[in-house]
């Protein structure tokens, strides 16, 4: 079975005005998306998500590398009969109604006007714009959420095998976001393959079979959500922290920031490290208030990879992602998605897409090409580490 999307060593460079060097918007990216798979493509703004999608749709051209969609080269006109695209914050002709917009796009597939109109009306109903008041409204009167629904309707006009959705819930209020997410779940139930670019992590977590994280154009992690989040950790809360203990903690757990004699920080759930901290606290007259198993969230992983500092909870407790960068999860897939749904005949991409969730760790200042190829930089997480329970008292 051919892959829905296959990307090999894709690079896209943009020249920098008045400079010799070029910027890599996408840097040696390789991945495969299986048929029927909902694939999350995460990254911060400017990470290279939209550039990748545009290459896959033939809107821009790669500097190096290859990309194929549904077994044909990216941008192939025949493939465009079977794919759909919803750009970020889509704009439609303002003077039209939702039905007219979708009819216009239907006619681009060669449908006769009557057939196009009939299908458009069906889809406008499907996305919840079929009510009397919405039906006669022009796009110029639509809210952002309503426009997004029109975008989804136009993306379904050809009953596509593969959907490219770029930030479909970006900038929407909670209700609109939930509605769009429900629509995506409905498409998932219908068996559509989807390449979902987003930084709305809850949506991705809810919808996707597999997820990848791209940062500065480079692939940093790929695997199912469960696999990627298996790097379990514990949150350690310590009270009565003396200056001496604070200094010791600083070397052992750099993310521990002491505020008014107390600190809370997150550590990898590894017995040696945790026991060492407990010993240190006991020896310095500190008090362990709690050790709480903490499931890693996609946001944790994302922030760690993107390397930004975030604040958790009250009291100025914080951790720096780069400081607490995890070792690697490497586990078997268990999400029920057929392994054969993803290609395993490409040696380069094997490390990324078959039976392992992989995080490619970048050293500070490391060049990425090295990091990308650095499957050797991965370690297997130790089993049996999930045995800590919440502790109270000293």
């Amino acid at each position: 079975m051919p892959a829905a999307i296959e990307i090999r060593n894709l690079t896209k460079q943009y020249p920098v005005p008045l400079k010799r060097e070029a910027v890599n918007a996408v840097d040696n990216l390789s991945l495969t998306v299986g048929e029927g798979e909902i694939f999350g493509f995460l990254g911060a703004n400017g990470a290279g998500k939209t550039t990748t999608i545009k290459i896959l749709l033939g809107l821009i051209y790669p500097t190096q590398g290859e990309a194929s969609v549904l077994g044909k080269p990216a941008g192939d006109i025949e493939v465009k009969h079977r794919v759909a695209y919803l750009p970020e914050s889509p704009y439609f002709y303002e003077h039209m109604t939702a039905s007219e917009v979708v009819t216009f796009y239907a006619q681009l597939f060669g449908m006769k006007r009557e057939e196009a109109k009939r299908k458009a009306d069906e889809l406008v109903d499907f996305v919840g714009l079929g009510g009397k008041s919405d039906r006669n409204k022009r796009i110029s009167e639509f809210s952002k959420g309503m426009r997004q629904r029109v975008g989804i309707a136009q993306s379904l006009i050809n009953d596509p095998q593969l959907l490219f959705y770029d930030e479909p819930t970006s900038g929407l209020d909670a209700i609109a976001r939930r509605d769009i997410r429900d629509l995506m779940l409905e498409l998932k139930r219908q068996g559509k393959a989807m390449f979902l670019s987003s930084h709305q992590l809850e949506d991705v977590e809810a919808v996707c079979h597999r997820v990848s994280i791209i940062h500065k154009g480079k692939l940093r992690a790929i695997g199912s959500v469960d696999e990627l989040l298996q790097g379990e950790r514990v949150e350690i809360r310590i009270g009565n922290v003396s200056p001496d203990l604070a200094a010791k903690l600083k070397t052992t757990a750099p993310s521990a920031i002491v505020v008014e004699g107390r600190t809370t920080f997150t550590e990898a759930n590894e017995p040696d490290a945790v026991f060492a901290i407990m010993e240190m606290v006991r020896g310095s007259g500190g008090r362990i208030d709690a050790i709480v198993p903490k499931r890693r969230t996609l946001e944790d992983l994302f922030v760690e990879i993107v390397g930004e500092r975030i604040v958790i909870g009250d009291g100025g407790t914080a951790f720096t992602a780069s400081e607490s960068f995890p070792t690697v999860a490497s586990t078997s897939r268990g999400d029920g998605l057929s392994s054969s749904a993803v290609s395993s005949d490409v040696p380069h991409s094997e490390a990324f897409n078959t039976t392992e969730a992989t995080i490619v760790e970048a050293e500070p200042g490391e060049d990425a090409a090295a990091a990308n190829g650095a499957a050797t930089a991965t370690k297997t997480r130790r089993p049996g580490a999930n045995k800590y329970k919440e502790l109270n008292g000293k």
Binding site: I60, K80, V83, P87, F109
Partner: protein, 264 residues
């Protein structure tokens, strides 16, 4: 080609709602009306002047509508990102470009036709009231508006060609400048022949042959000045139509070639 027609129809429908273009159309119609009103106050006002002014206004409004419409057709689609949803459908880039061009031509046709019909009817009434010795068939004015339309067809292809690789602002001045230079073709031809040195001669020769000869389409003169005679009207009209179509086709082919590799 069906896809190009769908895009063309959509382009027309959108363009007809653009306020700035409608404003030019309205001003054009209003000035044509005013021209006739002035004529009534000046007893010696000649119908010839009315013809000249009316056709001049149609031409001027047409030029402004053409340039403003054509320079924005492609950049607007890119800026608003509507081009992404269109080109991600089974639409070839040349179909998109041809569709936009046909849409521009359709819009221009409707605008020029509206002004022309208004002008011809008003002229017929004016002529009937004045009762000149040698009345002309008011419908013959359509020949002049046909020439104006062919001139605009060519200008639109030039502006669309330039819009593939220039910003709308640059394109506005460039298209306008080339239109003026193209109207001065006899002048550039003289400079090419009688230039001071070979470089100047070569430059004006290149300008003369590369820039479309917009001055060819001046049918206003034979209409306005009876002493200006056209040997064969049919030949004059058909040559100009063919010239405009061939030149526009070449410009559109160049635009398609450039747009095909353009990143959107």
């Amino acid at each position: 080609m069906n896809v190009a027609l769908v895009i063309a129809r959509n382009t027309i429908s959108e363009a007809l709602r653009r306020k700035v273009l409608n404003a030019f159309l309205m001003v054009g119609v209003a000035v044509i009306v005013l021209t006739f009103a002035f004529g009534q106050f000046q007893a010696r006002q000649d119908l010839t002047i009315v013809k000249g002014m009316g056709l001049g206004i149609i031409s001027l409004a047409g030029i402004l509508i053409t340039i403003i419409l054509s320079i924005n057709l492609i950049p607007n689609e890119i800026e608003r990102r509507t081009i992404y949803t269109i080109l991600s459908k089974p639409v070839r880039r040349y179909e998109f470009l041809i569709g936009k061009y046909l849409g521009a031509l359709g819009t221009l046709l409707l605008n020029i036709l509206a002004m022309s019909v208004f002008f011809v009817i008003a002229f017929a009434i004016k002529q009937a009231l004045a009762g000149p010795e040698n009345p002309i068939n008011p419908l013959s004015l359509f020949k002049a508006t046909l020439m104006i339309y062919m001139q605009l067809l060519l200008l639109s292809s030039l502006a669309i060609f330039l819009s593939v690789f220039t910003t709308p602002l640059v394109n506005f001045f460039l298209s306008f400048s080339l239109f003026i230079v193209g109207n001065l073709s006899s002048f550039t031809q003289d400079l090419a022949k009688n230039g001071a040195n070979p470089i100047v001669k070569g430059f004006f020769l290149a300008v003369h042959y590369i820039v479309p000869n917009f001055g060819n389409f001046q049918y206003v003169n034979p209409l306005v000045n009876p002493e200006v005679q056209v040997k064969s009207e049919f030949l004059f009209l058909s040559q100009n139509v063919i010239y405009a179509l061939v030149y526009a086709a070449v410009l559109m082919i160049l635009a398609i070639l450039a747009f095909d590799r353009r990143e959107v």
